[in-house]
């Protein structure tokens, strides 16, 4: 039953070779081409050029996708209703990234937020205005789109989000 004799331990190998030898090599993976679907994006991108936001609504579950999706993941149907969205939104969640400036060596603190656009059911990743202190960011913060000067028809037309000045009392409750 016992087959201990057939299994050799690696101990005798380690006795002879204390270290492995390292051979440098590189594996180039960084360049490839990809294709993307334009059919469901075209009206969205055209509206962005005019500084307008629209979302795609699923007729099955009435959820609004921003940015638009080709297929609704819940109903497996093609969302086909375009709805207008407001420029305001709120912070769904956030984190603070710490980046080292390669030239000065200074550590930059940049808040990275996920924004839920008012009227949309999904969140999208965005940046906050550099004027906002990262310590003041909180979940549920009201914000507003800040457009770039010359929109080109892409999601990068939203440069960052500005803070909406609002003294409503329910906002204080959200901060807690």
């Amino acid at each position: 039953m016992s087959k201990l004799t057939q299994r050799k331990s690696l101990e005798y190998v380690k006795k002879d070779y204390v270290r492995t030898r390292t051979m440098p090599a590189s594996w180039y993976l960084a360049s490839y081409k990809y294709k993307y679907n334009l059919t469901h994006m075209q009206p969205f991108l055209e509206k962005l050029k005019n500084k307008k936001l629209i979302g795609l609504q699923c007729s099955g579950c009435n959820r609004v996708f921003f940015p638009p999706r080709l297929v609704c993941g819940k109903c497996l149907v093609k969302p086909d209703r375009w709805v207008d969205l407001r420029e305001t939104g709120k912070v769904a969640t956030y984190t603070v990234a710490y980046l080292k400036d390669t030239e000065t060596g200074e550590i930059l603190e940049r808040p990275v937020v996920l924004v839920q656009q008012d009227g949309a059911d999904t969140a999208s990743m965005a940046q906050l205005s550099p004027e906002i202190d990262f310590k003041d960011t909180y979940i549920g913060m009201p914000i507003k789109v800040h457009w770039v000067e010359n929109p080109t028809g892409g999601l990068m037309d939203i440069e960052y989000y500005d803070l909406v000045e609002d003294d409503a009392k329910d906002l204080d409750l959200r901060k807690e």
């Binding site: 057939q6 299994r7 769904a92 984190t95």
Partner: protein, 415 residues
């Protein structure tokens, strides 16, 4: 109907940040050797098939499973490799379970192996194709990769975890001290585990809070290390298991569910989640696995849990989502010592992923450690007797959750 599957042994290699004394194949053979040492009656000729896996593109070499065939004794035997990103280990375990339970003629005993040698490959190249969920999104929306640096300055796994942390901390009203407490417990446990990586027996909460932020609210001291290591688990049938070891561990339920995209930015899965700490996939996978194992009250019936938590907030989140504690009560349980080595429900007594993270192997080490705790052979053995334990895995850019529910008695559902 499928056969009842049992785990008879599990083994580890030593984990460290740089295992420069061995190469990838030798690292795997260390784990295989440790696994077979615990079952003296089993030799390589008794193993019928192999399942192998690691994180794709992290190792820097193509087809590593063919390279290490001889090192794990797989010559002339069926061998498959599965890779599912961070959950690779969990999927390897599930693939091993399926191979045995399928009842193929002549295949009874299966060795599942997961490994990672991160010091050898380029982790950032691997992450660029796997862990950045945004790449697929950028492809869909037709944006160039240059925008990635502008949009996603908090990238990869910690970028995902810090969003979960922000929302979890707001929901359960905890501070960073509560996160540090989890880290301290894990590092203390790791000090008693022979194969663990970060062993810090004298770490205090103040020391953790003294380190700089990597990505708010996670600090350098809270984050998992990058380790080299391997893990091997031996699966076999119920009949053979009784001959091989004293206490076979029966696998009664397995599940793997992905529900939503990990970075919710562009809603990869179409689920429309806006709260990253909601984790419906974890709830669903635990539900499925518990129902297979016949567990209706996980809080009372489970004695030991190993959860996949590279970051402390995730450990708090998972134990709630897997049904072990009520929502938002987990921080108090860590404070009161319920989850400690001598507590009522010990969690991650091996130090967890927080102390040892060889990415591909991590999710296999969870069920392996849980099985060893049931057998009573674990390095940091809990004093109370363990009858039912769970091993959980999480990873990929789509929040894939794997679950294995194990017990010292077989579930008689198939008969």
């Amino acid at each position: 109907m499928g056969r009842q599957v049992a785990i008879v042994s599990a083994g580890y290699s030593e984990h460290a940040s740089k295992r420069s004394d061995v190469n990838m194949a030798e690292l795997v053979s260390e784990a295989v050797e440790d696994c077979l040492k615990k079952v003296p009656s089993v030799g390589f000729e008794d193993i019928d098939a192999y399942v192998n896996g690691n994180m794709p593109a992290f190792e820097g070499s193509n087809l590593p499973e063919l390279w290490m065939t001889d090192w794990m004794g797989a010559r002339n035997k069926p061998l498959i490799r599965v890779t599912t990103g961070g959950t690779t280990g969990g999927t390897v375990a599930i693939a091993g379970y399926y191979t045995v339970t399928a009842g193929l003629p002549g295949i009874d005993t299966v060795l599942a192996i997961a490994f990672e040698q991160q010091s050898q490959g380029d982790t950032s190249v691997g992450l660029a194709s796997v862990a950045y969920g945004e790449l697929s999104v950028l492809n869909t929306l037709g944006m160039s990769y240059e925008h990635l640096t502008r949009l996603l300055s908090a990238g990869a796994a910690i970028g995902v975890a810090s969003y979960q942390a922000t929302n979890y901390m707001r929901k359960s009203k905890i501070t960073e001290e509560d996160l540090a407490r989890v880290v301290v417990q894990n590092r203390h446990n790791a000090a008693k585990t022979w194969w663990a990586h970060l062993k810090m027996p004298n770490l205090t909460i103040e020391e953790v809070l003294d380190t700089p932020y990597i990505s708010y609210p996670l600090r350098y001291g809270m984050v998992c290390p990058a380790s080299d290591g391997a893990c091997a688990v031996l699966f076999t049938t119920e009949e053979k298991a009784k001959d091989m070891c004293d206490i076979p561990v029966y696998v009664n339920g397995v599940a793997s569910v992905a529900h939503e995209s990990a970075v919710l930015g562009y809603d990869g899965s179409g689920s429309g989640q806006i709260d990253p700490s909601e984790q419906l996939g974890a709830m669903r996978s635990s539900e499925l696995a518990y129902s297979q194992a016949g567990i209706s009250m996980p809080r009372k019936e489970i004695d030991y849990a190993e959860v996949y938590a590279p970051f402390p907030n995730q450990e708090l989140m998972w134990v709630e989502k897997l049904g072990l504690f009520e929502e938002t009560t987990a921080p108090q349980m860590y404070e009161n010592g319920v989850t400690g080595l001598k507590g009522e429900l010990p969690i991650c007594c091996s130090g967890g992923v927080n102390s040892t993270n060889a990415i591909g192997a991590s999710a296999l080490e969870r069920p392996a450690e849980a099985a060893l705790q049931i057998m009573g052979k674990a390095s940091n053995q809990v004093p109370k007797s363990v009858h039912t334990a769970i091993g959980h895995g999480w990873g990929g850019s789509l929040n894939l959750c794997t679950m294995l529910v194990m017990a010292d008695e077989p579930q008689r559902k198939w008969r």
